[in-house]
């Protein structure tokens, strides 16, 4: 797993949802653990697209349940 992608994603999650970056770890579920709603997930996805130069279509976004899912998706689609 890319530590750079993880830390970059954690910064975005902190900016958008106010979750401390240190708490954004691979095993955490966006909805169940980090209390992030669907509206914030859209914001996080748009910022992640800009930061990492990837496309995250809506049907892919729906599958990104955990932080680790997102990091893996971003890493393999950069």
């Amino acid at each position: 797993m890319s530590e750079n992608v993880l830390s970059g994603l954690a910064e975005i999650v902190e900016e958008v949802a106010g979750v401390a970056a240190d708490d954004v770890t691979a095993d955490k579920s966006f909805v169940d653990d980090l209390d992030i709603d669907s509206l914030s997930m859209v914001e996080i996805a748009v910022q992640a697209e800009d930061k990492f130069g990837v496309k995250i279509p809506d049907d892919e976004l729906a599958n990104l349940k955990t932080v680790g899912d997102a990091v893996n998706y971003i890493t393999s689609n950069k």
Binding site: V16, A17, G18, L39, S40, V42, E43, V46, E49
Partner: protein, 411 residues
């Protein structure tokens, strides 16, 4: 009233151009301070707007709210949250003091999330769809302030958002009265919120020729009832009251500021923006408030006026007051100091009226130096006046011909 139900006020909250809370606002009003300042926004010069002044918040809501919470809220929602938290805490409520199915929230706004609408439109134009915030709609919707406060308090008896331009805040309080009197709620958090100091509202009001252009003397620009008045000054802020059924409030040992004895509403049916110069509709609202409160007009010692500092409106209101109450009430117009908070005005000024009764003091009308000879009533000018009040009325009127009168009495 025959129902035996009374509505009392147990909590107050506000953030205004005079102060970040109720106490500082009240103190600044009595001290003769003005909230009007030059607008430093870049769009004032960009569009060469004829109006370069506004009545702006002393404490920015983003200084009070956590960063992430603030970024999810339009400014009109931020001020509603700030004032509601103050009022809820002031009333001594916590998680267990009221069954949430007996708690309602009613917060009006005149314009709603104009800043969000315009900002997001700019983003769409400049950066395309994907940069538009997914929070755009909940931030711009005019029920947003009520909805966010309702969600925070988990209010389930009802969450409502009356929209009646500059009468919205007062209409929310009138609605609260009706919900408590009808038995639908024991406690209602009610008031108004407004924050639309941005290009389009300023341009639109300017084009309607309704605003003061006394740009070189901001603090003297809002001058209700004065011969030199030339329009209102746009303001921003929020005022929130906690209203309760008296028996409910007393049973929990709440401190009671005063009583909302009666309310009256009417519509002019006259013109979309101009008030009826004969004040017929306004006087019907005032008379209805007194009737519903069982108040004899002779007992009304004071009227906290809507008077916005426009040439026609201020005089029409005094005609309505004479018709409904008589020549005896002592008048004041807080917009001289506060400017015009549109959908929040009625709520902030209702708070001022309640404090006038509590403290036995009527604030002066700031900048009233030469009383318009068409006004034949006693308007407080220069300094506050001490006066023991048995009953006082607060007027609010809005574009569209909406009229709301609230009649308050001591605790």
């Amino acid at each position: 009233m025959t129902s035996g139900i009374e509505v009392v006020i147990t909590g107050l909250g506000a953030t205004t151009p005079l102060g970040g809370d109720v106490t500082s606002t009240w103190d600044a009003l009595l001290a003769g301070k003005s909230g009007v300042r030059p607008m430093t926004h870049d769009w004032v010069e960009k569009y060469d707007l004829p109006v370069k002044i506004a009545s702006q918040l002393v404490v920015d809501p983003t200084e009070v709210l956590p960063r992430v919470e603030a970024r999810r809220l339009d400014r009109s929602e931020q001020v509603a949250i700030v004032a509601s938290r103050q009022a809820w805490s002031d009333a001594g409520h916590d998680d267990d003091t009221v069954d949430r199915q007996r708690l309602a929230v009613i917060i009006g706004t005149g314009i709603g999330g104009a800043i969000t609408l315009l900002t997001q439109d700019d983003i769409l134009e400049q950066h395309g769809l994907r940069k538009v915030s997914p929070l755009t709609v909940p931030m711009l919707m005019p029920n947003g302030p009520a909805a966010h406060v309702g969600l925070e308090l988990k209010a389930q008896a009802g969450v409502h958002a009356p929209v009646s331009a500059c009468a919205s805040g007062a209409e929310a309080i009138a609605w609260a009265y009706r919900m408590i009197m009808s038995g639908e709620a024991d406690v209602v958090v009610a008031g108004g919120a407004e924050a639309c100091i941005t290009a389009i509202p300023v341009a639109g009001f300017s084009q309607a020729r309704t605003m003061s252009t006394r740009n070189d003397e901001p603090e003297k620009a809002s001058r209700p009832f004065d011969t030199g008045r030339d329009g209102f000054v746009l303001g921003e802020g929020a005022g929130i009251m906690v209203l309760e059924r008296r028996e409910f409030a007393e049973a929990r040992g709440a401190r009671i500021y005063g009583r909302l004895a009666g309310i009256g509403t009417s519509a002019d049916g006259y013109h979309i923006t101009a008030p009826d110069p004969e004040g017929v509709g306004q006087s019907r609202a005032i008379a209805a408030a007194l009737r519903s409160g069982g108040i004899d007009p002779s007992d009304v010692g004071h009227v906290n006026c809507h008077a916005t500092s426009t040439p026609v409106g201020d005089v029409a209101e005094t005609v309505a007051i004479r018709k409904a109450i008589g020549d005896h009430p002592v008048l004041t117009a807080p917009k001289g100091a506060l400017g015009h908070l549109l959908g929040a005005a009625g709520a902030v000024e209702a708070i001022v009226t309640v404090l006038s009764i509590r403290d036995g003091i009527v604030p002066q009308t700031l900048n009233l130096e030469n009383l318009d000879p068409a006004v034949t009533l006693d308007v407080v000018a220069g300094e506050p006046r001490k006066i023991k009040l048995e009953a006082a009325v607060n007027d609010s009127f809005g574009f569209g011909g909406h009229n709301v009168a609230l009649a308050f009495t001591p605790a």
